[in-house]
Chain length 242, copies 2
């Protein structure tokens, strides 16, 4: 079973202060790239897996989605999402993605932001998402890039000339990683790009686009402290279709 770290008070408190929590999609630097992968959302039936505070669910509603079903395992997250309004066409459901089975054939778009790398049993979920989509439906999701999840200690080290160097460690040894991020002992699952693509293929999906995200030169001009984030990709964004 996946750790429900978002209901840990210390983690939740720290998470709620992140720009992406305070400012929503506009506070997430990868959002423009992720949005560019989305099919038209107007009139679509949307499934938002790991919906968190519901920022994407509300955005999809504002784009004219026919319906939006937001799912999250965290009671605190769902409560916060509902407090921002859970009128039609949005519905929120508290459920564990490891076991959650969305209704078959009911969605045109499944979306998930930064949730899948917490899941132990991703392959069965991908199969259930495939079943939940109509033919031609899309799955668009982001995860931490495998270069982030690989090392035991995901921290910059100093190179010979004082430059920031990202240490790749244990890339090919997949499985659980326990890191300290916002709270001690956060558990993530490290998977290679090869494995993400294989799991999608096994579930029946066709890969459409893959993006190894790092900040753009424009974003670095606005936030010079992000310069080193181009040394290695930060997020992996994928669009695939049934």
């Amino acid at each position: 079973m996946t750790q429900n770290i978002y209901d840990d008070p210390e983690f939740f408190d720290a998470y709620s202060r992140l720009p992406r929590s305070r400012d929503g999609l506009e506070g997430a630097p990868e959002w423009p790239s992720l949005r560019a992968l989305l099919p038209p959302v107007a009139r679509a039936r949307v499934l938002d897996l790991g919906c968190g505070y519901g920022w994407f669910s509300r955005w999809a509603r504002d784009q004219g989605a026919a319906s939006v079903l937001g799912v999250d395992v965290s009671e605190r997250m769902i409560a916060r999402a509902r407090s921002e309004g859970d009128d039609a066409p949005i519905t929120y459901v508290r459920a564990d993605l490891e076991t959650y089975a969305p209704p078959p054939g009911a969605f045109d778009l499944a979306y998930s932001s930064l949730a899948f790398h917490y899941l132990d049993a991703l392959r069965p979920l991908l199969g259930r998402i495939y079943e939940a989509l109509t033919d031609g439906g899309s799955l668009v999701f982001s995860v931490e890039h495998p270069l982030l999840t690989a090392p035991d200690r995901p921290e910059w080290v100093e190179g010979e000339n004082g430059e920031a160097v990202w240490p790749v460690r244990r890339y090919l040894d997949e499985g659980m990683r326990r890191t300290d991020w916002l709270a001690p002992g956060v558990i993530k699952q490290h998977r290679t790009i090869e494995t993400y693509l294989r799991l999608l293929r096994e579930a029946g999906f066709t890969l459409r686009e893959l993006c190894e995200w790092g900040p753009s030169r424009e974003q670095i001009a606005a936030q010079p402290e992000w310069k080193k984030e181009r040394e290695r990709p930060f997020f992996l964004l994928i669009r695939c279709s049934r």
Copy 2:
């Protein structure tokens, strides 16, 4: 134009002493994984791009290929390949892959081992390979993994606890890298996985399988000094189809 380093006497001499040069496919540890990506070669018309000494061309012949066309820019390589026998169904052609146009619709399988990361203009070549394949034909190729081509100095560094750490540097900054490997000033082109997949898609290919290769546990048992090679993938192997 791509550097023809294989006709550099110093490089050629060092290259000819590598296990993969002496022992052929069996001396290349990634060969079992690459072979597993191949469609049936018997009766196939095979294009071997960057054929080197012709190890794969002869293997394809021995598998019963209908024809094998080996292409390499290096005069020394082609001469060596021919000296091992260039009877039917093998033909060797000396040509620069940057400009070489194979005959359209003439091949069932295009294969390339560790050549594409030397090429400046890969996208046009992929388009010409696509045209050279029949519908349903396959392109199977290997390149150095982008984690190998990214850093300016692709060398292990020592971590805090004396462990081998692979330094990721400049992953998102694509383009030329000048490294010292077998000879000084070898020029390679760094591309991300995102870019390899995009170029294939733009050329019309459908991705079938992607493998981030490192030695297997069995290979490490036989060659314990390879243990650190599982810290990060070494080769990127791809099968795609027209």
